[in-house]
Amino acid sequence: MFYRETGQFKTSYAADRAIFPIRQDLYGMGILLLLALTVPFFVKEYWLSAILIPFLVFSLAALGLNILTGYAGQLSLGASAFMAVGAYTAWNISTRLPQVPLLVSFIAGGITAAAYGMFIGIPSLRIKGFYLAVTSLAAVFLTEWIFTHIGWFYNYELSATISTPEMVIAGIKFDTPIRRYYLTLIIVCLMALAAKNMMRCTIGREFMAIRDMDVAAEVIGIRMLRTKLVAFGISSFYLGVAGALYAFVYLRSVSAASFDLSESLHILFMIIVGGVGSILGSFLGAAFILLMPIFLNLGAHAVLGNSIDPQNLATLELMVFGGLIIFFLIAEPHGMARLWQIIKEKLRIWPFPH
């Protein structure tokens, strides 16, 4: 009785095309945003820096990968490589040219990652599906090698580990978790809105067309190589910015090892669990994959007390991850976003059964 569409008639195409055509959804989103803005006031700082900030950063990364793999159907295991490029570019600019504003260096990180992504995406015209995943694997190894062997990129720092400088934007120092949280929140929200807009316009349809049936797409006039490269580019831009945020806002000290294959796989798991081809799914998946180890930890301690060995916990985590992936792929291949849709559909007729 709360979630009804009755009485909400659309009288223009513009209204019909809104992101939240059902008023209750719009209010729900509003409440969520309000919560997001006020959460620092009733939550410990630890939660901000250990949970909410990485959640936002990884949501952005998952969003980027979702654009490429979920919407455009180009399977990629190379998410971490593009994050690395974004992070190292932003670091290089902010340390070598400190007069450049920080946000500009983030954007530059994104653009460089986009260029790198388009380069890696060139084989995608001739290679499809699983084989493309192999090229992205190659990108991960290549990138790892570049950032540990070509000294210029990491300024010959010891053991190739770089530390990000203090963040100053427009004279304000972003040194407290609260400030960093707001910065990340704003960046991620704006980029998520941009992604949603793109996916419901021509670009989104072109991506989904080449994902669903590429021969038909070409026959309609969608240029394969150009669209695929644009997909790689936009996706890598998002991953690059996410990488820069990862380094500057969250870890503050990274090396090539922070961007390895298992990181890529984690992000892939996020979009599988959250929902491929869904903006909401990227957020849900990131939340799930990030929070799961914490709950596992709590659960294990509750059930087994303190007798559990931390190393065993890590391996248990691996098993649970693997099991979850298998479970989601079998039970709900469209992920939690689809589950949420089903819940909403049930809500529309609640309390009636059908």
């Binding site: 223009s12 195409y13 513009a14 019909d16 095309r17 941009a194 992604a195 807009n197 793109m198 316009c201 021509t202 670009i203 349809r205 072109e206 989904m208 067309a209 994902r211 669903d212 049936m213 021969v215 038909a216 797409a217 070409e218 026959v219 309609i220 006039g221 969608i222 240029r223 394969m224 644009v230 936009i234 081809g277």
Partner: protein, 285 residues
């Protein structure tokens, strides 16, 4: 109520006055050849799909391609469309001659088609599927789309209106938001036709648009195809197995057998052609 469509402006509009209805007889409207297929040969690693096929297609006509299974009919459409590249021969479309067509170039030139096995995008709704047909007409770049301002917003609404006109034309308004994968076969074929029409093509290639349909659905589809040909004046090449349909609606018929053209002419003439009867019914001993 008849819907009059002005071909020059290519705007779908509902008009109330019967005076505005175009009433041309079929033979009056057929014009000069717009497509010439010359000596096209296509083979797949030793298996010849088409051998030295030549024919032309005149503007505004409805040409049917018939032939037994494996005769090369779909391959012929695929060659015209740029999906397959022939080893020999050339295609001339509106004066431009090419040895091989390119898929997206042919789309830019105004050739649209439907597929035998339905090539819709199952993950998208009916509206989105038909909107993809308008793809070439959308000019906004990705930044404008990301911010949803200016050209992007205007185009989305303008083309949505055009898509609605097509939904109207094909009587599929109620299913506009349904993901295409969930629709029954007959409706999917109609949506595919809608997507092809959305491009406002100069030449429409239909590959067995009535396959797997019952009598009623076939009549509906026939009516739509005839409407497109009569009211929009679109040139149509149609592959079809149902002889009744072919005889009723086509202006000329091309018969293929084992990749070779064995007859071309009016439906009546082709029906009585010796070679055609031999190919379809066998030789009378």
């Amino acid at each position: 109520m008849n819907t009059a469509i002005k071909y020059n402006e290519t705007v779908f509009q509902g008009l109330s006055s019967p005076i505005d209805v175009y009433a041309r007889t079929r033979s009056q409207k057929i014009g000069a050849p717009i497509l010439q297929v010359k000596n096209v040969s296509l083979s797949f690693g030793g298996v010849a799909a088409l051998e030295d096929v030549s024919f032309n297609v005149k503007e505004h006509e409805l040409l049917a391609i018939i032939g037994p299974n494996g005769a090369g009919k779909s391959s012929m459409l695929n060659v015209i469309n740029g999906v397959y590249h022939p080893q020999k021969g050339q295609i001339t479309f509106f004066g431009e001659t090419r040895h091989k067509m390119n898929a997206h170039h042919s789309a830019e030139q105004g050739i649209a088609r439907t597929f035998q096995n339905i090539a819709l995008f199952p993950g998208m709704t009916v509206i989105d599927n038909i909107m993809t047909g308008r793809n070439l007409k959308m000019k906004a770049n990705f930044l404008e789309q990301a911010l949803y301002i200016g050209r992007a917003k205007k185009e989305e609404i303008y083309h949505r209106q055009k898509v609605e006109e097509i939904l109207d034309f094909l009587h599929i308004q109620p299913i506009r938001k349904t993901p295409v994968g969930r629709l029954p076969y007959g409706l999917q074929k109609r949506v595919e036709l809608g997507r092809a029409l959305a491009a406002e093509p100069r030449l429409l290639l239909l590959d067995e648009p009535m396959a797997g349909m019952n009598m009623e659905e076939k009549e509906d589809m026939c009516r739509f195809i005839l409407d497109v040909n009569d009211e929009l004046g679109t040139t149509i090449i149609l592959i079809e197995h149902d002889m009744g349909v072919v005889m009723d609606i086509s202006d000329r018929v091309v018969v293929l057998n084992y990749g070779m053209k064995i007859a071309i002419g009016t439906p009546k003439a082709v029906c009585e052609d010796k070679d055609v009867i031999e190919a379809y019914l066998g030789v009378n001993p």
